[in-house]
């Protein structure tokens, strides 16, 4: 029983890492009033570009850098569409996701799978000591002990975060106070995409070590839900990520339990998603959306 719990916690940490990273990125973005529905595509394309670059150069670190650059480019496109042009944010984000996924699949075909091969790298390993729970990837430690506190500090303590919150809540007031609204939103979007690309890169460069079609499988949308569930707060989003990952890890473990052997494992795989929806339903009423959420800002 104890082993079961230990394995459960260990798996939860692993599974939760990309979710937390992606959610951290979306928190910063949405705090500025911008919805980034490109999150799924950014995770996907960063996962791909990271492993592709790592495969070609033999260096996982270069792969990581390329992944982040991919995310930044995608972020620029989204910011241009939504902040500068004022395109409907749902359509812009979804279009970006579709674009990034199809381009990644195409380049994957060109470079790797045309001959039936598949891109693979020797991935980063976990730190290798400390017992099951502590033996996690550096990414996980980064996400929990660097990324989360950093984003918290950025939003709540830094001047930049103050500006982001002002822009996200009341862009007119921010404008009057002399804050460049559009520029702040661009910065928030780009900072967000950095975290999203780290989330994608984690999966291919550390967790799995290869790239397959549909590798992200809706986790970007889950991160989106976690941000709302977390009310755009870092701490609560960690909680949400933990719950989702726990249910996810739980169903993985449950399969090993004889009593559940007969249940189609896909049904169990669906549980975490349903858990998130239930979480939203239970806590999602009158959620304090940032005041300027989805609204492009134009000085009249």
């Amino acid at each position: 029983m104890i082993d079961f719990i230990i394995d459960l916690v260990a798996a939860t940490l692993r599974i939760g890492t990309p979710l937390l990273l992606a959610a951290l990125g979306e928190i910063v973005t949405e705090r500025a009033g911008v919805l980034n529905l490109g999150i799924e595509g950014i995770m996907y394309s960063s996962a791909f570009s990271g492993i592709a670059a790592a495969s070609y150069t033999g260096s996982l670190w270069i792969g990581l850098m390329v992944a982040v650059v991919t995310g930044l480019v995608a972020g620029l496109i989204l910011a241009f569409l939504t902040v500068t042009l004022g395109v409907n944010q749902h359509v812009a984000g979804l279009g970006l996701t579709l674009f990034l996924i199809s381009v990644s699949n195409t380049v994957n075909r060109i470079l790797f799978t045309a001959d039936g091969g598949q891109v693979r790298v020797e991935p980063w390993k976990s730190i290798g000591f400390g017992g099951p729970i502590l033996d996690q990837y550096l990414f996980t430690y980064f996400a929990l002990f660097v990324g989360a506190p950093l984003v918290w500090w950025i939003i709540w303590r830094s001047g930049f975060g103050l500006r982001v919150r002002a822009v996200g809540e009341n862009p007119e007031a921010a404008d009057v106070a002399g804050i460049p609204v559009a520029r702040t939103r661009y910065q928030a979007v780009l900072l967000g995409t950095i975290f999203m690309s780290l989330a994608g890169a984690f999966i291919t460069l550390a967790y799995v070590g290869q790239f397959t079609i549909n590798i992200i499988n809706g986790r970007g949308w889950v991160a989106l839900a976690l941000v709302i569930f977390g009310r755009w707060n870092v701490g609560r989003s960690i909680l949400g990520a933990a719950i989702f990952s726990l249910v996810n890890a739980g169903q993985l473990q449950l399969r090993l339990v004889p009593a559940f052997a007969g249940v189609p494992f896909e049904l169990l795989l669906a549980l975490p998603f349903l858990a998130v929806i239930i979480g939203l339903a239970v806590s999602g009423r009158n959620v304090p959306y940032p005041g300027s959420y989805l609204k492009p800002y134009r000085r009249l």
Binding site: H90, S102, F273
Partner: protein
């Protein structure tokens, strides 16, 4: 020097189409780079994608076949978006439709065709609507954003299909994860002889025209439009906003589900894991490119069908990846949507003056 955007009241008639053409041009330029990288010639590739399918009967009818599910999802998304209900879950609703249709089709042995064919479509529609119910209720009763809830249910639907196909619906003969073939009576007849174009297309067109008719001529259509354009004013006029959203969401899901049933009954005749190649998401592209108009979405669906077929033949002939078609479609979406917005504004480059 920063550009300022000033809303223009006067729109010369030629500005819209010109900007759209510019968007198409940008699409070509961007995808050309990718095509060249894959070792093909962009001009040849585009010829395959856009012209080639129209040059043969087979190409044309295959394009129509490819467009059939898009007709359904395009209409489903358009009607939801027009009510201000951001239904991004058409993919899941379509998949739910395929599940319902397959269930019906597997049990339809013995039913006469004129019962089974409408029946399978109905099964699809009901399943699709059921899939749309939860997010719709969350929005109508609790005011919870439907974007995330509809999105999340998409992977869930695929998981349910995978579970069914690996489990109870596994093929009884081959043991592969695709379902048994559905009953003959439930299969939709071909409407264009010697092609694969099936009755589903007719239903799709009928449904789309029905939406068009509803929006412009029925009182419910005016209600829907008012709720989508100005929910506050609609409420003041005594319209039931939440009820309209709920109903629209269910209708949207039902149409998407019917699209799934059409795929099962008309083409695939069995459920497979790859039954949908993103039809629900492409439906968003169709609806947006058609600027949420229904007649327009028929044309856009056909265009995307042509691109699908064309990129497939391009991939065989020129060895560029078949996913290139999806790239073209998504770039087109982004550029056209940007063009449609730019057309409304005049860009002022001067320093802070209007």
């Amino acid at each position: 020097m920063k550009p300022r955007f000033v809303l223009r009241a006067d729109e010369p008639w030629w500005r819209g189409p010109l900007l759209v053409m510019f968007a198409v041009l940008v699409t070509f330029i961007v995808t050309s780079a990718l095509i060249r990288w894959s070792g093909g010639s962009p001009i040849a590739a585009f010829r395959y994608m856009f012209i080639n399918p129209l040059q043969s009967r087979f190409g044309l009818t295959e394009s129509i076949l490819s467009a059939t599910p898009l007709v359904f999802t395009g209409a489903a998304v358009a009607i939801a978006f027009r009510a201000g209900y951001w239904n991004i879950g058409a993919e899941g609703q379509l998949l739910a439709g395929t599940i319902g249709a397959t269930w019906f089709g597997l049990h339809a042995e013995g039913l006469p065709s004129f019962v089974a064919v409408p029946g399978i479509l109905l099964a699809g529609a009901v399943s699709g609507a059921a899939w749309a119910l939860l997010p719709a209720l969350l929005r109508a009763r609790l005011g919870i954003d439907e974007v995330v809830s509809t999105l999340l249910l998409n992977p869930v639907a695929l998981l349910v299909i995978t579970g069914l196909l690996n489990g109870p619906w596994r093929n009884s003969e081959t043991g592969f994860p695709d379902s048994d073939v559905i009953a003959q009576s439930a299969m939709m007849p071909v409407v264009w002889p010697d092609t694969r174009v099936h009755l589903g297309l007719v239903f799709g067109i009928v449904v789309t025209l029905g939406c068009w008719w509803f929006i412009r001529s029925m009182a419910g259509g005016l209600r829907l439009r008012a709720v989508g354009l100005a929910p506050g004013a609609a409420r003041i006029a005594g319209l039931q906003v939440e009820r309209t959203l709920l109903t629209t969401a269910l209708v949207s899901g039902g149409i998407a589900g019917m699209g799934g049933a059409s795929e099962i009954a008309g083409v695939a005749h069995q459920l497979t894991i790859g039954i949908s190649s993103g039809f629900g998401y492409t439906g968003v592209i169709v609806a947006t490119l058609a600027a949420l108009s229904f007649i327009g979405s028929l044309l856009v669906a056909l265009m995307l069908g042509i691109i699908n077929v064309g990129s497939f033949s391009a991939s065989r002939a020129l060895s560029i990846p078949s996913t290139m078609g999806e790239v073209v479609q998504s770039v087109l979406l982004v550029t056209v949507v940007a063009a449609l917005v730019i057309q409304k504004y005049r860009v002022v480059w001067k320093q802070g003056q209007s």
